[in-house]
């Protein structure tokens, strides 16, 4: 067994994801099978191989001109907020006075 229910709960905590007991059991089984498949990568000799983090080619990337553009604006940015105040997103209280 590659992953336990305890580890599933730990990872769900890292991912900020509430899972119920049946989800924990199901994902434990799913992840176990998938991780077993992923262990095939251990067969590959990658010594001296550079990791590929991005597709790179001639003319990729580069920086754009640093010019001022009209921003989206806070009204548009806040338009989809579940809860908002004037000019800001509202969330449950974090610090008690």
């Amino acid at each position: 067994m590659r992953i336990t229910e305890k580890e599933v709960r730990y990872v769900a905590g890292l991912a900020n994801l509430t899972l119920d007991d049946s989800e924990v059991a199901r994902f434990r089984a799913d992840l176990d099978g998938i991780l077993e498949h992923m262990d095939q990568l251990n067969e590959v000799d990658t010594s001296g191989v550079e990791p590929m983090a991005q597709v790179l080619f001639e003319g990729a990337g580069g920086l754009r001109e640093d010019v001022v553009e009209t921003p989206l604006g806070s009204e548009a940015g806040l338009a989809n907020a579940p809860q908002r105040g004037p000019g800001y997103f509202k969330v449950p209280k974090v610090v008690e006075r």
Partner: protein, 479 residues
């Protein structure tokens, strides 16, 4: 006018000769889509106001005697992971059921600048995670060719709309096959361009190093025309390529004599099926057209699935972190504390497949596992890209299947995530290498289900890829 079989050329001819106006065409296209959509559920919503505004602008250009643009009056369906200002964009997720983007994706702006008509938004797997469009929070899409079957995924709605005729062309997104596989299942053309060829600005990020926007069409030329419109450098996407955009449709035609095609041994040996037979017949068509066909080896193919599902889920777990109840419409009612708000919003909002991939991605990035999984996968990705680079020293393009099987029945594979992942084998290799690939219709099975053939070529090799696909289509495919 036969809405369901219109082409870009036919629309242009009709507009320029005043057989119909863009407004008339758009009204008719909206009526047709509204009437036909219940058969497949390809569209989640139509956007009549925006469509009619765009149509009026095309008619004004025509009235002034101006060039109306390469997509003038063309009804375009757009996958619901691509942001459209003022038009709800759900990504197939309950989390974004009410989300109305404050800006347009660059691809959308370019389509409209070219005279294209945004007809509506199409259903897809939640956040583009899936191979059947069954992972949408808004119900599945039916394959227009066989309504008891899936249209493929994740861009299933876009493929179905084009196949059904409720759009002339469509935009989809492809991370590991999400354009090519539904194109194959629905019998249409689907193109995944070179990574960076089309700006990702306004495409909801799934796996940033693998995400592409690309076209669906009913013929190769229309796909080439749409790609030409949306391609090109965009200052808002730093990974977009500066290379000039060739006039893809103008480069179609011309013989294939002397072109070299490769058949990867690793792809063919598992294919004893009807799909394999159709691909073999497709290869014969290329031989008759003068191509030289040789077998070659892509030795790292067997490791592509674990490599892809580590990298894609790792990037997804990071990209989807933003959906936490603060900015994007949905917040759990159980949000007593900030931590509760984050966890419960995500726990209630994401569907099972998204959660599975977030879990997997978080796991492979977590302390102690990063080197063993994520870094290892990135190194294997280098080997997969090298396989292709070596192959393209020998051949101009590679011919391969798109999917091991044609469209499967709704519900047939939902309970086996690993089996669903494994079926992506032929599409994810090209995605990992970032090379252009496309699916072109390659006949039907005895049961009448479409099968796509995949063409892959080297970075920025789209002109050769389209030329091959166009000649194949002109030759009548395998039929």
């Amino acid at each position: 006018m036969q809405i369901a079989s219109l082409t870009i050329d036919r629309i242009r001819e009709g507009l320029l000769s005043r057989q119909f106006s863009a407004v008339e065409l758009t009204e008719e296209a909206l009526r047709f889509a509204e009437a036909e959509n219940p058969k497949t559920g390809a569209y989640l919503r139509l956007s009549p106001e925006r469509a009619m505004d765009a149509a009026r602008r095309v008619d004004e250009r025509l009235a002034r005697g101006e060039e109306p643009g390469p997509l003038a009056g063309v009804p375009v369906a757009v996958k619901d992971v691509i942001l459209t200002k003022g038009i709800t964009t759900t990504c197939g997720s309950k989390l974004l059921a009410a989300y109305v983007p404050p800006y347009d994706a660059t691809a959308i702006l370019r389509v409209e600048e070219a005279g294209g008509i945004l007809l509506g938004k199409t259903n897809c797997d939640e956040f583009a995670m899936g191979s059947s469009t069954e992972n949408s929070a808004f119900g599945p899409v039916r394959n227009p060719v066989a309504p008891d079957r899936v249209p493929g995924g994740s861009s299933g709605g876009s493929a179905a709309a084009v196949a059904q005729g409720t759009a002339v062309v469509a935009l989809g997104s492809d991370t590991g096959g999400s354009i090519r596989q539904p194109a194959s299942f629905c019998g249409v053309v689907g193109v995944t361009p070179t990574y960076g060829r089309v700006s990702r600005y306004g495409l909801t990020a799934f796996a940033s190093s693998l995400d592409h926007i690309g076209p669906f069409a009913r013929n190769v030329k229309d796909a080439a025309t749409l790609l030409r419109v949306i391609a090109g450098r965009d200052p808002r996407d730093s990974t977009s390529a500066a290379a000039p955009v060739p006039d893809y449709p103008a480069l179609l035609g011309g013989g294939l004599k002397g072109l070299k095609l490769g058949l990867p041994r690793e792809y063919l040996r598992e294919l004893g099926s009807e799909v394999g037979d159709l691909i073999s017949r497709g290869v014969d068509v290329f031989r008759r057209l003068g191509c030289e066909v040789r077998e070659l080896s892509l030795p790292s193919t067997g490791y592509a699935i674990p490599c892809y599902y580590i990298i894609a889920t790792a990037e997804a777990s990071s990209n989807l972190a933003r959906f936490d109840g603060v900015r994007y419409t949905f917040r759990s009612a159980n949000s007593g504390t900030l931590a509760d708000m984050y966890r419960n919003t995500r726990g209630e909002g994401f569907g099972a497949e998204c959660k599975r991939r977030i879990m997997l991605g978080t796991y492979v990035l977590s302390a102690g596992y990063y080197d063993a999984y994520y870094l290892k996968a990135q190194k294997v990705r280098t080997l997969i890209a090298r396989d292709f680079a070596r192959a393209f020293e020998e051949v101009d393009a590679i011919v391969a299947p798109v999917s091991p099987f044609p469209a499967f029945k709704l519900g047939e594979k939902v309970d086996d995530p690993l089996a669903m992942y494994l079926s992506d084998i032929y599409t994810i290799t090209g995605s990992l290498a970032g090379i252009p690939c496309m699916s072109v219709p390659c006949g039907n099975t005895a049961g009448g289900l479409p099968v796509g053939m995949q063409l892959l070529t080297t970075h920025f090799g789209e002109p050769a890829m389209f030329r091959l696909a166009g000649a194949f289509e002109d030759a009548g495919g395998v039929n």
